[in-house]
């Protein structure tokens, strides 16, 4: 018969693809820039019991479109079901499940660490290793800005925590597809 369909379809040969991918996914979602859209997306996640690991929202190059970047665990959630549910929201325009190898993903975090005179030098050294920036220095604390993958930020956190982490703020990852030559 026509190309593309097998001659015979035996039932025992029919298989179902697995639902869980077992890895972290970054979904880049373009939505209409209208009031209430974030509530619709967030509400969908809580209602269906999908757990978001991080969420970042911001404008795009088109003022009528905003971008929501969120990360979630494909070992727990069937990503296909998540994206299909998201697509049902009328204000959702486009969803990309970013392939890790073709994606540049970045997150920024601010760390306020206690910096007694004894460990100040060490913290500055950590910052240098991580190519982080010291953005504020006070008598008892120092604030450091780190940009990178979520892994890098978590590694930095592990380094400074023993020295007294006063506060940490993370943006959640944003991502963009790599350019092609």
């Amino acid at each position: 018969m026509e190309a593309g369909t097998p001659q015979v379809v035996k039932l025992e040969d029919l298989h179902m693809p697995g639902q869980l991918t077992g890895r972290k996914h970054i979904l880049s979602i373009q939505v209409e820039n209208k009031p209430g859209v974030l509530a619709r997306v967030a509400g969908l996640f809580s209602r269906r019991g999908f757990n978001i690991d991080t969420l970042a929202v911001g404008p795009t190059d088109d003022p009528s479109v905003s971008r929501i970047t969120l990360t979630l665990d494909g070992a727990v959630h069937p990503i296909d079901q998540v994206t299909k549910q998201l697509h049902k929201l009328v204000n959702v325009l486009k969803i990309r499940d970013m392939a890790p190898e073709e994606t540049v993903a970045r997150e920024m975090a601010l760390f306020k660490v206690s910096s007694a005179v004894e460990n100040r030098a060490e913290i500055i050294q950590f910052a240098e290793i991580f190519r982080a920036k010291i953005v504020d220095v006070a008598r008892r604390t120092m604030t450091i800005e780190v940009t990178g993958s979520a892994d890098k930020i978590e590694a930095f956190e592990r380094m400074v925590r023993p020295h007294g982490l006063v506060e940490m703020v993370r943006t959640g990852e944003i991502a963009i597809g790599r350019g092609h030559d």
């Binding site: 593309g4 369909t5 379809v9 039932l11 209430g36 299909k84 697509h87 009328v90 959702v92």
Partner: protein, 569 residues
């Protein structure tokens, strides 16, 4: 033109002929404009009634149902109907008034965030922020409600904006929503694979749902099923999508489905799900559901595919477009029909050995058995009425015993299971189809929940017939308490019920009572012949249980039938 008048113009442009609702402060401009509108406004007695009436209207006719309410309590009274329409995919538009723009967010008088409250169960919603949006949003709302997988759309209009003066030109171009493009055609390659899988199936079954009715695809389904004696079972919502009297029909499946239908699912090697969503009332214990079957799933909503039960062959599309293609592809394969003989032998065996049954000993005279009541209703209406239902045992018995042969004749609350749905939805159905017989089969627990709509029937001259299956109990809950909670009855006895005959009369309707099976059919005929609304209070056996039943959390093959001792034949 005043924005509220453009609302009426836009509704007219959408072909609206009837709407339901109640006015209030925040939608005064709308109701002022309504005075000159060319469509009928049915003044219901409670906004929930208006919402369910809109649903019944839509389900009976296939046209979008419309309900209005004012802000605050008016809007929150609609919430149950909106959730109900979402669960059962009913094309509806709900138009609420909102407080004046400058009051929004201040907890102003009768302010409620209805958009926020209904967010989890609307197909979409619009908050008007500029009066010029009104005509545009109306068209978008109708487009969304009625296309793809249908559902409820909410339009919330602040009072000041509906009073504003705007330029109005009738809209001519079709609605374009960049984030909304339902795929309807079905991937032809997938359809071919499905046809070939069907050709190799030895124990196939079609499992059809409300999607068939929404898609108006009954004819197409019959063609496909008839192309090779495929057995068909239907969900509660799908009844009438395939004729109950057709020889291929196995009856309803699921918690109160037939033995044959449930065992066919259990033993099938191929399930073709069409516009059905593998709800827990169908699957029972999910891990043990249809253990031998591969699944072809045809649905307009891609998110339903592999949501609960994985599909081996997913086909996203409108059943009306997909089914004829599947029939064509299947016919082209010219398969050998006799390969289904063995399967049909099994199925016929199950049908013969395990039919629906009840104790018929009092059917000639004496105690009215609920099942007999449904059979009497079938005879009295020649099986051809639009039947709306409340929620409970009476609903399940109707689904089992009425035998719906046509689509849009069975209107009930399947997904949400809303008691009190029957009477208002009957009003909607009767307004939509004035030439049809419309009967509400009611439960005594349910009917009282929206009994105020009897007043609507009388005042608005909507002659629906309410056949009350009066068992003096919230019977379905009683049944569960009897079977699964050691017969510890807790708040299920209705105690001193109202005198339903007098109650009907107090509303200005006709009230009737029947206590003997011998008189029932005759009384039903009399009720149907009376030219006005009637409430017929039929006193039925109080503690009858609805069987067969798959106990909650069990697999289909563990279904329980009525105790044989009660069978007399």
């Amino acid at each position: 033109m005043r924005a509220a008048d453009t609302l009426m113009e836009s509704l007219k442009a959408e072909g609206v002929k009837d709407v339901f609702g109640i006015p209030g402060g925040a939608n005064l401009p709308t109701y002022d404009a309504m005075v000159d509108a060319e469509f009928r406004h049915v003044q219901v007695r409670h906004e929930q009634g208006g919402g369910h009436a809109a649903e019944g209207y839509a389900q009976a006719s296939g046209r979008v149902g419309v309900a209005f309410a004012t802000s605050g309590p008016g809007a929150t009274n609609l919430v149950t109907a909106i959730a109900d329409a979402m669960m059962d995919s009913v094309p509806t538009v709900f138009i609420t008034g909102q407080v004046r723009t400058e009051l929004i967010g201040t907890d102003g008088f009768q302010e409620a965030d209805i958009l926020g409250a209904t967010l989890p169960f609307v197909k979409h919603s619009f908050a008007v922020t500029d009066p010029r949006q009104i005509p545009e949003y109306v068209h978008e709302a109708f487009h969304l409600a009625s296309t793809g997988r249908p559902g409820p759309v909410l339009l919330d209009i602040p009072m000041d904006l509906s009073r504003a003066d705007i330029d109005y030109q009738p809209r001519t171009e079709p609605v374009e929503l960049p984030g909304y493009k339902p795929s309807t055609e079905g991937n032809i390659k997938q359809i071919r694979i499905a046809a070939k899988a069907l050709a190799n199936a030895r124990r196939p079954i079609f499992y059809t749902g409300g999607g068939v009715i929404n898609a108006n695809a009954s004819e197409e389904l019959r063609e496909l099923a008839g192309s090779d004696r495929f057995p068909v079972t239907s969900t509660l919502m799908g009844l009438g999508g395939f004729p109950a009297s057709h020889e291929n029909f196995l009856g309803m499946l699921g918690m109160h489905g037939t033995y044959a239908a449930n065992h066919a699912m259990d033993k099938a090697d191929l399930i073709v799900a069409i516009g059905a969503r593998f709800d827990d009332r169908i699957t029972g214990k999910l891990e043990e559901f249809a253990p031998h079957a591969k699944v072809i799933h045809i649905d307009i909503d891609p998110a339903e595919i592999s949501k609960n039960v994985g599909a081996h062959i997913p086909i996203v599309g409108d059943a009306k477009q997909v089914l004829p293609k599947l029939t064509r592809e299947y016919r082209a394969l010219q398969t050998d029909t006799s390969r289904l003989d063995e399967w049909w032998n099994t199925l016929r065996g199950w049908q013969q050995e395990h039919p629906l049954f009840y104790d018929e000993s009092s059917d000639q005279s004496g105690e009215i058995k609920p099942q007999f009541m449904i059979r009497a209703m079938h005879r009295a209406t020649q099986g051809d009425a639009i039947i709306t239902s409340d929620v409970g045992q009476h609903q399940m018995w109707t689904a089992q015993y009425y035998g719906f042969d046509k689509p849009r004749r069975w209107i009930n609350s399947g997904g949400l299971g809303t008691m009190g749905f029957g009477l208002p939805s009957a009003i909607g159905a009767k307004v939509a189809c004035p030439d049809e017989q419309v009967v509400c089969i009611a439960g005594d627990g349910s009917l009282i929940m929206n009994i105020q709509e009897m007043a609507t029937c009388v005042a608005e001259d909507v002659p629906v017939k309410v056949f009350l299956m009066n068992n003096g109990y919230m019977g379905m809950v009683r049944q569960w308490q009897e079977l699964f909670w050691d017969r510890r009855y807790s708040s299920v006895d209705m105690g001193t019920s109202p005198d339903w005959v007098k109650l009907a009369e107090a509303f200005g309707a006709k009230g009737m009572r029947c206590e003997d099976a011998a008189d029932l059919e005759e009384q039903m005929v009399a009720a149907l012949e009376h030219d006005g609304p009637v409430l017929l209070d039929a006193r039925v056996a109080r503690e009858e249980n609805c069987y067969p039943m798959i106990p909650p959390g069990n697999a289909a093959r563990d279904m329980v039938e009525a105790p044989r001792g009660s069978q007399v034949s």
